[in-house]
Structures are given as structure tokens and as C-alpha cells.
Symmetry: C2
DNA sequence: TATAGGGCTTCCAGTCACTGGAAGCTCAAG
DNA sequence: CTTGAGCTTCCAGTGACTGGAAGCCCTATA
């Protein structure tokens, strides 16, 4: 398979696949003409990567997950640890975003949004504390 | 004021303040010795930036918010638009993270996390669909 | 057989918002 | 006069791609 077909079938753009090769996540063979020659296992790996990335795992996590996947002697606890840590990072991010969302939505509600210059959003950002809540 | 004091009082590290000068967000004067000489208004601007960044606004948004802040003829609608767009971007991000969280927490729950290699997390990533839900 | 096109290759640069580090100048204290 | 902290600039690296240029390869059609 050439890169185009693999890209289509895995849903990962060619540029990204080349990048993944660069950083050693996949190691396709080469045809005589210099083109990358992907086997089914490479496609499978890339699809794995696509799903792991879609769950927000970092590239380093993906690398570790992939090597656990290929390691018959793995312990599921190792996988679970990675996933749990990632899950808690996600929770932290969600909490942080929800805090932003909270403040911001209050400010947006308080702003008239008309032609006058008066604006509680700017007031808040400028450090004026006698403001909403 | 030297950069150190401004950093302390604004909560923004010196490196970042220099970076903000680089990209034209602040324009401190210079003392005879070449040191940056910040006025109160610079400090005020930096604190503004710190709060805007803490709400997740991009640097470009911050630039626009700052210039609206300094523009007496602004219309609050302009500010509100920026804030609303940012708010909806935050909502999108939260939704995306919650979807990840959902899938991931199911997988984590399904994984024994023991010494055996069997792992529903890896099974899911590998594209095996006869899995949790 | 010439050529046009699409796909493939590599390499370099840019994104975003910093952050680390090196080399070197300035200043205040002892 | 030395020490050390604080300041300066400049360069490089982060994460995970993404865009673009220059050029080779392959197939199909005129």
C-alpha cells in the first residue's frame, strides 16, 4: 500500500503518517522506487494511533500503549495506569475550563452588547472588583 | 519599575513580559542602562493581560481586548462578540473532553488492572468492536 | 513519444505561547 | 574589588502537526 491509500483507510493524513514515521511510531518498508510500502500491520497500528489520539492520549502515551499492545507479557495494570492518569488529566482540564466558562458567562450576560462603551467584561479584566458577583 | 518588580506585582514571569514586548503587547520605556522601565500603566496592562489569559483568551484576542479597552469610542458589542466567541469555543472544548472522558472512564472501569495481559482498553484501541457498550 | 497530471519524496518553516539556557552587562552591598 | 543578583539579547526547544517548495515517479492520453 502507498501512503495515500493508508491515509484514506486509517483516516490519518499523509503528512501525519510521515511525521509518525519520523518519530518512530511506524516503520513502513520501502519499495524500489523509494515510496513507503505499508503492510496491513502498519495500517492497523496507524488506526490504533488514530483512536488513541482521538481519546486525547499524548504521543508518548501512544508510544507506550502501542508497545504494551505488542507485548504479550504485559500486565493490564500498566495499561490501566496510563489510562487513569490521562483520565485524571482530562478531569483537571474540564474543571479548569468550566471555571473559565463560569466567570466568562457571567460577564457576557452582564454586558449590554450595544453601541455604548460601558462594558463589565473590560471592567473585570482591568481589575475593577466592584463588579458582577 | 524594573521587570522583576513588575513580574512580581502582575504575576507574569519576566520571560513572558519580554515576550509580550516582543509581540507588541506592551511597550515599556528604557532607562539609561538599557533596562526596561515600566510605568504604572504598563503594570496595569500586564495585569489585564494576565486576567484575560487566565480566562483562556488567545493572545490575539488579548490584543483586541486591550485596544478596545483603550478605545474610548468602543462599543460594548465588540467586546461581547469576542467574549461570546471565546465562550462558545470553550463550550466546544468541554464537550469534546467530556466525550473523551465518557469513553475513557468506561474503558478504565472495564479493565481489571492486574497482572494478566487481557485488556479491554487495548482491545478497544485496536479496533475490536465487540467490547464495552 | 511527448506531455500532463497526480502521487510520491525530502526538507524547511510556521503554528501557539511561552520557557530554558548561554553569554555578557549593570548595580548594590560588603 | 569582588560577589551575586538582576538585567540584557539571542537561540533553541516544546507538542503535534501542517503548509509549501522543489523535484522524482507513474500512468494515460494525444
Amino acid at each position: 500500500m502507498n501512503i495515500g491509500e493508508v491515509a484514506e483507510r486509517s483516516g490519518i493524513p499523509p503528512k501525519t503518517i510521515r511525521y509518525y514515521e519520523d518519530i518512530g511510531l511506524v516503520r513502513p518498508q520501502r519499495s524500489g522506487n523509494g515510496y513507503r510500502a505499508f503492510r496491513e500491520t502498519d495500517l492497523h497500528k496507524l488506526a490504533f494511533l488514530g483512536r488513541a489520539r482521538a481519546l486525547g492520549f499524548s504521543i508518548e502515551d501512544c508510544r507506550n500503549l502501542l508497545s504494551l499492545y505488542e507485548d504479550e507479557t504485559r500486565e493490564s495494570a500498566q495499561v490501566k495506569t496510563i489510562a487513569e492518569e490521562h483520565l485524571s488529566a482530562i478531569d483537571d482540564k474540564i474543571a479548569q475550563l468550566q471555571e473559565m466558562r463560569e466567570t466568562l458567562s457571567h460577564l457576557v450576560k452582564a454586558c449590554h452588547g450595544d453601541h455604548r462603551p460601558d462594558c463589565p467584561i473590560l471592567k473585570d479584566l482591568s481589575g475593577d472588583l466592584k463588579n458582577i458577583r
